[in-house]
């Protein structure tokens, strides 16, 4: 019953409860809302902090040979998962090929907040992870988009990937900030950390609470506006696909011989679905795909599932597999 206790402990953490509060407020049509600029500010803070801390950890622990393998595994996973998602969607739902490909791109990519929540769970459990896992996360952001565009092109639709879009995807703000602060953390090391620790370490969990409050609000508003969209087939997909992704992440972790913490995070990356970078790319590249399908699924179904149950499951499985 370890898993159960963990799930309950996780469910009653301030982080999850803040998300639930936001969800409740939006569904009850409260006018509670967080300004767009503040939400963006918090996301910049979280990306900077998680990247920086990852870099410092690498500076302290040194780079094991595993990093390159992990990056490679991440890219392969991000390329491959959309195919699994696409196949599942075509079987489980009646989405068009175009919509299915657009959704699939989200599941090959990742959600950095889910990753951050995963590191919180690890910390609570007293487990450590490799600092370079943030680089692995960054590496998984973009490849899935290419797979999705390929799937669309194959079925005769979509527009060609132009260089401009490619540049936009690879240099999108989240990737640049995450990698950039990772490098800064690595270069400045623990001395650098000491100077800004009381900014990026101490208040981190609190900012995460308010950010999740906001995500609950946005997800709740999305669910209200998209009631018609969420057929049972899609809902099921939104819960099954993360498990598939997590299983692939676990396989990658085992093959690479990662520790418990990093394996769990690899599962989280596999399981999570993008809700920032990929939707924006889809609006540009596949304008005919229905955004309320992919946004609702990613933010309204898979994100809450991962946050509430998924993380506990992935940790338990990672422990079991790695004997951690």
């Amino acid at each position: 019953m370890d898993l159960f206790a963990l799930a309950v402990g996780n469910l009653t953490s301030p982080i999850i409860l803040s998300f639930a509060l936001g969800l409740f407020a939006a569904l009850a049509r409260s006018d509670l809302s967080i300004p767009e600029a503040v939400a963006k500010g918090m996301s910049i803070y979280l990306l900077f902090a998680i990247g920086f801390k990852g870099g410092v950890a690498v500076d302290e622990a040194g780079l094991s040979g595993t990093l390159l393998g992990a990056l490679l595994g991440a890219v392969v996973l991000s390329f491959a998962l959309p195919f699994a998602a696409y196949a599942l969607l075509r079987v489980m739902t009646r989405l068009s090929a175009l919509d299915a490909a657009a959704v699939a791109a989200h599941y090959g990519s990742i959600s950095i907040v889910t990753f951050v929540a995963g590191t919180s769970v690890l910390e609570s459990a007293g487990l450590s992870y490799d600092g370079w896992m943030v680089a692995v996360a960054a590496a998984m952001e973009a490849p899935a988009i290419l797979s999705a565009l390929w799937l669309v092109a194959r079925s005769g639709g979509g527009r060609q990937m132009d260089g401009e879009l490619m540049r936009e995807i690879l240099l999108n703000g989240s990737i640049v900030l995450l990698i950039g602060s990772f490098v800064i953390g690595w270069v400045t090391g623990s001395e650098g950390l000491a100077r800004i620790e009381s900014f990026i370490v101490s208040p981190f969990q609190g900012v995460l609470c308010l950010f999740l409050l906001d995500m609950g609000l946005v997800a709740g508003r999305g669910l209200r506006n998209a009631r018609g969209v969420l057929r049972p087939g899609l809902l099921t997909f939104g819960v099954v696909m993360p498990l598939v992704g997590a299983a692939s992440g676990a396989a990658a972790g085992l093959i690479l011989g990662l520790g418990t913490g990093s394996t769990m995070l690899f599962m989280v990356l596999g399981a999570s679905a993008s809700y920032i970078a990929v939707p924006a790319a889809m609006r540009v590249a596949l304008p005919e795909a229905n955004p309320s399908v992919y946004l609702t699924l990613s933010l309204g179904v898979t994100f809450p599932f991962n946050l509430t149950l998924g993380l506990a499951i992935y940790l338990a499985v990672a422990r079991f597999l790695t004997g951690g």
């Binding site: 967080i34 924006a280 540009v284 304008p287």
Partner: protein, 103 residues
């Protein structure tokens, strides 16, 4: 005061397409425009609001562009090429401007 006829074009378009649109305008030698933020809206694809959003997938902007009447068609063609497969609204109004030499 002395005013001169001109056209006011308003293009409401997805935020992700903003740069592509303004590049197309500049490419068509339409160098004067102003971009206004948009808070929310509604259309055939439903209701949306920017409140609390971090991503750019759901926002729109409004690009206002005042041109000499004889430049209108060039502008509309440049804009249409970008807007066509996307959601977005293009409207044109007759107006009068001060300082016609600026347009």
């Amino acid at each position: 005061m002395q005013t001169h006829p001109a056209k006011r074009v308003e293009i409401i378009i997805e935020e992700v397409m903003e740069k592509r649109l303004t590049s197309a305008l500049l490419g068509a030698d339409v160098t004067g425009f102003t971009v206004l933020p948009v808070k929310g809206g509604s259309g055939r694809s439903g209701h949306w609001s920017r409140a609390g959003q971090v991503g750019r997938a759901t926002g729109m902007v409004s690009v206002v562009c005042i041109v000499r009447p004889d430049r209108l068609d060039t502008l509309l063609e440049a804009a249409f090429a970008v807007v066509e497969p996307h959601i977005g609204v293009v409207s044109v109004t007759d107006c009068e401007v001060l300082r016609a030499e600026r347009f």
